[in-house]
């Protein structure tokens, strides 16, 4: 009752602030802007917010907040288009959506998958707002209950999801996690800044960005594979189930949606965890709680509903650390705090004590923006789903343009494209030889926090032990919250193990061929891990050394065991899975290398002429030679595609990487660059 008496007056004041034509207008404006930015993979909320920030200065607070919140709220909604339709993870929030969303598109059920995703987003967003309305009043002590040991346990919980995502060979799944963690350890060490695994390259000093890894691991292999098929994304270019089915699917799985939304709120509320694991935890939970798991990865609608319910709820949950502690849970939230200061509000505990109506304005603007945004997206999904019936080669230049542009947002150099090609190759071979790509990604995402929290917990526990003895140490490490988390982890691992044994029994025999291909790839992975191990040994600062030595060492051990298995087992064993031997890829009319050569040609052209000129040349050459389009449609598509990208880049103040040409001739934007 006490909560209600505080919440309700502030809530009604908040609604009277939001439900004015001006505020609603700005909210809708923010939503539209967010949708435009969000459909472009890799841009996300930071770019969108930076765009509106100059205008926010001097606006009245409610309008300014509505504009910013509207924009932030719909990013995890609109990026679903790219994830589901094209297999391109639009942002870190929708990586898990790709796993089942894209196969659904390939089966001609894009509209159904999109609608289910959007309703889930809408529900997740509303659920988050309702929970937050009350929770935010009592959140502070709860958030403070999560210290370093608890954060470490949450990281471990993230890792435990690998159990269900490891694929047919658990060993290969584990090596994939280790490989991901090793790649995640590349760059400046988080503690003392030692250079690790950068082999003297400045590009690697800051490590790979999640965008490049996500695109390389998921988008590139799918695009290349589809291009080899030379057909539309949807088989037979027909659309099956429509958006009504998607909504019905969501209703059938409403309890799953509620559970995943709750996961989203909880993970979002805790500062320091980062939002990029939410969708994987939700996906893992979805797999664990589904009876018939055979369809996961091949177009299971629950695999779309779970992660999408969680990622919008997470945005709401993320408001707690952002507003109450001034600690942004993501890059876009950091910019959001900057915008709030422009409007005269400083994030901190006083947001509850003094500015509760404004806090509720933010919370409920977020919910309303979800309604408007998801509603608009459902409305559009039927039409946009038709993209999947277009002959794929006609789409490819646009896709390459989008993923390259997204990759350039990482460090704005040519090397971003180089990294994308390299990681893309890794992704292609992991896909072909059946190494779990989600496991790799989870390893990559969690590497940093696993390292930092592990040694911070150790270090603090040791000091606590010095002052409080063994008891002090244990009571720091094992709090009630921590014990609950340990129970959840044990349950999750148990569910995962039980499920992986039932999952693969009834499955058909793995697709295998001869030993050569899988062996060469395994040898390359082993060589990389060995090089990483050697590099890690040479790091001089102890605190920066322990993690990469441990991870690379254990992965190397796993790789050696794998090589032994390969030596001993027959070529029909799972360790020799090879997607090129049976199924879709085996029968593809066009080979891997001629297809990949097109992508690499874009890289080479960019190195010579800079990105914009290279892109124009690529569009013309590809559409003419590979897609066989008429000159007229080539002109229309090139101008439309490149023009749209230039418009986005112009509005968002983005430069394009220069090539060799720009060293000799100075060209104006957008042809020039830095």
């Amino acid at each position: 009752m006490d909560l209600l008496s505080i919440a309700l007056p502030a809530l009604s004041e908040a609604f009277s602030l939001i439900l004015t034509p001006t505020a609603m207008g700005y909210l809708a404006g923010g939503v539209l802007l967010g949708l435009c930015v969000g459909v472009f993979p890799g841009l996300g909320g930071i770019a969108g917010l930076s765009l509106v920030l100059p205008f926010v200065y001097g606006m009245d607070p409610v309008s300014g907040l509505s504009l910013m919140v509207g924009l932030v709220a719909v990013i995890p909604t609109s990026d679903t288009f790219a994830s589901v339709l094209l297999g391109i993870p639009g942002s870190s929030a929708s990586q898990a959506t790709v796993l089942d969303g894209f196969p659904l598109s390939k089966q001609g059920q894009a509209a159904r998958a999109l609608a289910a995703a959007f309703v889930s987003s809408l529900f997740g967003g509303l659920f988050g707002a309702v929970v937050l309305t009350f929770f935010i009043l009592i959140a502070r002590p709860l958030v403070l209950a999560f210290g370093v040991p608890e954060l470490l346990l949450l990281t471990v919980l993230g890792f435990s999801m690998v159990g269900v995502l490891a694929g047919r060979s658990l060993l290969k799944g584990l090596i994939a996690v280790g490989l991901g963690m090793t790649v995640g350890a590349i760059g400046e060490a988080p503690a003392q800044g030692s250079a690790r695994l950068d082999f003297g390259s400045w590009y690697l000093q800051d490590g790979f960005s999640l965008v490049v890894i996500g695109l390389g691991i998921f988008a590139v292999p799918e695009i290349i594979s589809l291009l080899r098929q030379d057909r539309a994304i949807a088989k037979d270019a027909k659309l099956g189930a429509g958006w009504g089915d998607g909504i019905a699917d969501w209703w059938r799985n409403r309890w799953l949606s509620i559970r995943c939304a709750a996961i989203g709120v909880v993970v979002g509320v805790i500062p320091g965890l980062g939002g990029s694991v939410v969708d994987w935890i939700a996906y893992g939970h979805t797999v664990q709680t589904t009876k018939d798991r055979s369809r996961f990865g091949n177009g299971e609608i629950r695999g779309v509903i779970g992660p999408e319910s969680s990622n919008n709820a997470k945005e709401g949950g993320g408001l707690v650390p952002t507003l109450l502690f001034g600690i942004p849970g993501s890059g876009s939230m950091a910019v959001f705090i900057g915008g709030m200061i422009l409007l005269g509000y400083e994030a901190g505990p006083q947001m509850i004590s003094n500015d509760l109506p404004i806090t509720y304005t933010v919370v409920w603007s977020l919910a309303l923006a979800n309604v408007v945004g998801a509603g608009l997206c459902i409305f559009l999904s039927g039409g946009i789903a038709r993209l999947t019936t277009i002959r794929f080669p006609l789409l490819v230049p646009f896709l390459f343009m989008m993923i390259s542009f997204a990759a350039f947002q990482s460090k704005q150099t040519l090397w971003d494209l180089g990294a994308l090609v390299a990681i893309g190759l890794l992704g292609i071979f992991m896909r072909r030889f059946d190494w779990s790509r989600p496991a790799f990604l989870i390893g990559f995402v969690l590497a940093d926090q696993a390292e930092v929290y592990a040694y911070q917990a150790t270090q603090i526990a040791m000091v606590k032990g010095r002052t409080g003895g063994l008891e002090g140490m244990l009571s720091y490490l094992f709090t009630p919250v921590g014990l609950i988390l340990i129970a959840i982890i044990v349950a999750s691992v148990w569910l995962g193990m039980r499920q992986s044994s039932t999952l693969h029994q009834d499955e058909s025999k793995p697709e295998t061929g001869d030993k050569r291909g899988p062996l060469i790839f395994a040898l390359l992975v082993t060589a990389f891990l060995a090089a990483a191990f050697a590099d890690a040994i040479s790091v001089s600062v102890l605190i920066d050394k322990v993690f990469p030595v441990t991870v690379a060492g254990l992965s190397l051990l796993g790789a050696v065991i794998l090589l032994l298995q390969m030596r001993l087992r027959p070529e029909t064993d799972v360790v020799f899975s090879d997607g090129e031997r049976h199924g879709e890829d085996a029968t593809a009319p066009i080979g891997l290398w001629p297809t990949l050569a097109w992508f690499i040609s874009l890289l080479v052209l960019t190195a010579l002429f800079g990105f914009v000129i290279a892109l124009v040349l690529f569009f013309i050459a590809f559409l003419r030679v590979r897609a066989g389009a008429s000159w007229q449609s080539i002109a229309v598509m090139t101008i439309g595609g490149v023009g749209f990208m230039l418009l986005m880049a112009g509005v968002l103040n983005r430069d394009f990487p220069p090539g060799l040409l720009q060293n000799f001739v100075e060209l104006p934007w957008p042809f020039g660059g830095r």
Binding site: S50, A334, Q350, V651, P668
Partner: protein, 363 residues
């Protein structure tokens, strides 16, 4: 719609050939229709980013011709990537300006091999100062108030640190000079995370820069959960460390040292501390024009920043976001630049030896 895009459209209309002419013939002292890029070598949302975004609209109003000013983030390699780019590639036409922070100055001072920029090449037009406040939990603060020597001798401190070669060098060295036993827990992401660890009771000493202290720690002080014990101080016109104008009631580290040790700090350690303190706090953030910029452009910018800092409402709007600190322009800014970037070799060597011995970090 941003000015960049409009100017792109305009230039395209005028033809590519004319575009080159337009850029070349821009009048030095008038920025009408131009777009100024303010490059920040850090990510969106960080302290330097917020600082630039605070100034950008005010500067645009004050510059002749009211150009549009866009903040461009170019993060990487601990800000040395953006600084190298500015040193090597920025054009000196007054349309590119650069904001640096203590994190750009420390690698420069410590001889980081990634640094290919030279501060004395550039033309400073603004220098913004900040300060720092260290605080303890209430129980330790009460003991500290009674007898700091007891706390210094008998308490094991834990401190959440971003790394010994960052700004944290200043507090870590100060505490060590006092003889405190502080164990830094490395790898935290920003001072906000350190404050959170303090609130959770995982660490028992912390410091925040002025603006963060005002907004985030003051509520804790009012609740009785945190008590400030010292500031790093501020610099007066002669370069002496004096009380911080934002926190006139809190003693400086120098005063605490004098009180505890019975004599004012001196010697190599003090000289080294002072040099890095100046680089990290009183001369923390500066705005530069590239090497070879014409004098009238530099003067135009200096005058514009002067006009901004002399606005009637400046104290009011800047108080919350920057704290009450001198915003130096003109010759004052130049003096700050020298104080913050010209450090004698003995002090640099001392710090390097200390980092190696104490934390095993080799630079």
């Amino acid at each position: 719609m941003s000015g960049r895009f409009l100017s792109f459209a305009a230039k395209t209309l005028a033809g590519v050939a004319a575009a080159g002419l337009l850029a070349g013939s821009a009048l030095a002292a008038d920025f009408s229709g131009e777009t100024v890029e303010w490059v920040i070598p850090f990510k969106e949302g960080g302290g330097s980013d917020k600082w630039a975004r605070f100034y950008a609209p005010l500067l645009a109003e004050a510059l002749p011709g009211n150009p549009s000013i866009v903040v461009k983030n170019m993060p990487g390699a601990g800000s040395t990537k953006g600084a190298n780019w500015f040193a090597e590639r920025a054009k000196s036409d007054g349309l590119t300006i650069f904001g640096t922070s203590g994190s750009t100055q420390f690698p420069y001072l410590l001889g980081d091999p990634r640094v290919r920029y030279e501060y004395s090449d550039w033309n400073v037009v603004l220098a913004t100062a900040t300060g720092g406040v260290a605080y303890l939990p209430a129980d330790l603060a009460a003991r500290w108030k009674k007898d700091p020597k007891d706390v210094i001798a008998n308490v094991d401190f834990i401190y959440g640190s971003q790394g010994a070669t960052r700004l944290d060098l200043v507090p870590l060295l100060a505490w060590e000079m006092l003889g405190m036993k502080v164990e830094p827990v490395f790898g935290i992401k920003g001072r906000g995370a350190g404050r959170l660890m303090f609130e959770r009771g995982e660490v028992n000493i912390d410091y925040q820069t002025s603006s963060a202290f005002l907004s985030k720690v003051t509520p804790l002080v009012e609740e009785g959960k945190a008590v400030p014990i010292m500031t790093w101080g501020a610099l007066d016109a002669e370069g002496n460390v004096v009380r911080d104008p934002t926190f006139p009631d809190i003693p400086t580290f120098k005063e605490v040292y004098t009180d505890v040790k019975g004599e004012a700090p001196s010697g190599d350690a003090w000289e080294a501390w002072k040099a890095f303190f100046v680089a990290g706090f009183p001369a923390q953030k500066m705005v530069f024009l590239p090497k070879g910029t014409e004098q009238d452009i530099i003067d135009t910018y200096s005058a514009a920043f002067k006009a901004v800092t002399e606005r009637a409402d400046f104290a009011d709007i800047s108080k919350k976001r920057l704290g009450v600190y001198p915003q130096s322009v003109g010759d004052d800014a130049k003096a700050k630049l020298v104080q913050g970037t010209v450090v004698n070799q003995a002090a640099k060597d001392w710090i390097k030896a200390w980092l190696k011995e104490r934390y095993g970090v080799e630079l």
